[in-house]
Symmetry: C2
């Protein structure tokens, strides 16, 4: 009997110098000094302004059976969960699957509409991955970021595939994908150009 | 009367995390801890092992009318020029044009075969560029690296076009292209995948 198990992929949009967010994140500017309005809209123009052209890349993210993200990607609340916050994605988030939020601050799960439930994991990256794998079954697990979260998984050798969407500007500072991660062997699985974006997919060996 | 003047382009091969050379450069390992044998052969596999497939990208570099490089790219001699050294490229270098080497240590020009003359420029990046432009005439000026040199030109706003060749591995440390360079607006002019490499060309705006 062969068991099919999904892969673990990281998927993140970076500036040409490798940053996935700028310095000085605030609630009004969750991406900080991101070269635009602070909401990441410039980094993510490929997703929002050119969605049709990039449908395949977007679908590949949302096809995952479970999601992992860091607490700073989830929202602007820091420290204790001292006020209501259920993510940036509204009542019916696009995940339609369990999403595991890494944090040091315990919190009960939040069940949203459409199949998304946010689970708050306080016992580290391996625990979050084990829960995500169990939830995803044969489907993939998506690590969505930010860089602080993805880099930990990369450094621990827990990522099978790394997808970078390289946007045409530089930030000069911020949280950098792959920063502090020991050398990795990669295999370029695909590389596709679209309007003002390059999609690179690597198998991590 | 319109005057045609060439553009200034930077052209450099980087790891997926943006490094153009590793730590600990030595004469035996001029690229230092570069994930391979220290000669940059792994970064530059696209040039040497897959030259036919990448002929267009290679020719675009060599079409320049003048070249600029840093002293560490030119060779392993540091401090005073206390022993003979005429570059890594033998008696008949592939440049076939003047090549300006930035250094703090004055030295007379070296005329090589085939049209390459090495000029050693001790009065900074703008002086080197002025000399290179004068030598190139209507042709382009190529800034070849290393990162220390290219980043200075990028930071000074003197680069019209940035060509990155992204190799499928990470280094984790070394000299990083775009490190310390203030934010840049780029236009993705072309993006092409070949075997185990992605060629990205940006116009710097
Ligand atoms: N460009 C993109 O595609 C992209 C993708 C995702 C996010 N982003 C942006 O990136 C920024 C967030 O990224 P980031 O790197 O700053 O942070 P992040 O990875 O989203 O979150 C980091 C936080 O998560 C918690 N955490 C991470 N690892 C943990 C662990 N092992 N154990 C327990 N808790 C852990 C900690 O929060 P506590 O200690 O406070 O609980 C930590 O401060 C935001 O601006 C976001 O919008 C961009
Ligand atoms: N991946 C690629 O495509 C690629 C391309 C090129 C090079 N490389 C590699 O990158 C490494 C070299 O790069 P690097 O960044 O270490 O050094 P580099 O830019 O080649 O050379 C730096 C040196 O050039 C001189 N210099 C630079 N700017 C100057 C200025 N404004 N005024 C006067 N002198 C100046 C200084 O030498 P002094 O003060 O000693 O005179 C400085 O230490 C080598 O391993 C090389 O093989 C890789």
């Amino acid at each position: 009997m062969t068991e099919t198990i999904g892969k673990v992929f990281g998927d993140i949009t970076v500036s040409a110098d490798g940053y996935s967010a700028g310095l000085d994140q605030t609630e009004e500017r969750p991406f900080g000094a991101d070269g635009g309005d602070g909401t990441g809209s410039k980094l993510h123009a490929w997703m929002f302004d050119h969605a049709d052209e990039n449908r395949a890349e977007i679908d590949l993210i949302l096809d995952a059976g479970a999601f992992i993200m860091g607490r700073n990607m989830f929202g602007p609340v820091r420290g204790e969960w001292d006020r209501p916050w259920n993510g940036w994605w509204g009542e019916d988030p696009p995940f339609h699957a369990p999403a595991f939020v890494l944090t040091h601050h315990a919190r009960d799960p939040e069940q949203m509409k459409g199949g998304t439930t946010y689970h708050f994991v306080t016992d580290g990256i391996e625990a979050a991955l084990a829960e995500a794998r169990a939830a995803a079954g044969a489907r993939d697990v998506a690590i969505l970021g930010g860089a602080t979260t993805l880099n930990q998984y990369l450094a621990a050798g827990l990522v099978d595939e790394l997808r970078l969407h390289i946007a045409p500007f530089t930030l000069g500072a911020g949280t950098r994908v792959l920063a502090g991660v020991p050398p990795l062997q990669l295999e370029q699985v695909s590389s596709r150009a679209a309007t003002a974006i390059t999609h690179l997919t690597y198998r991590v060996r």
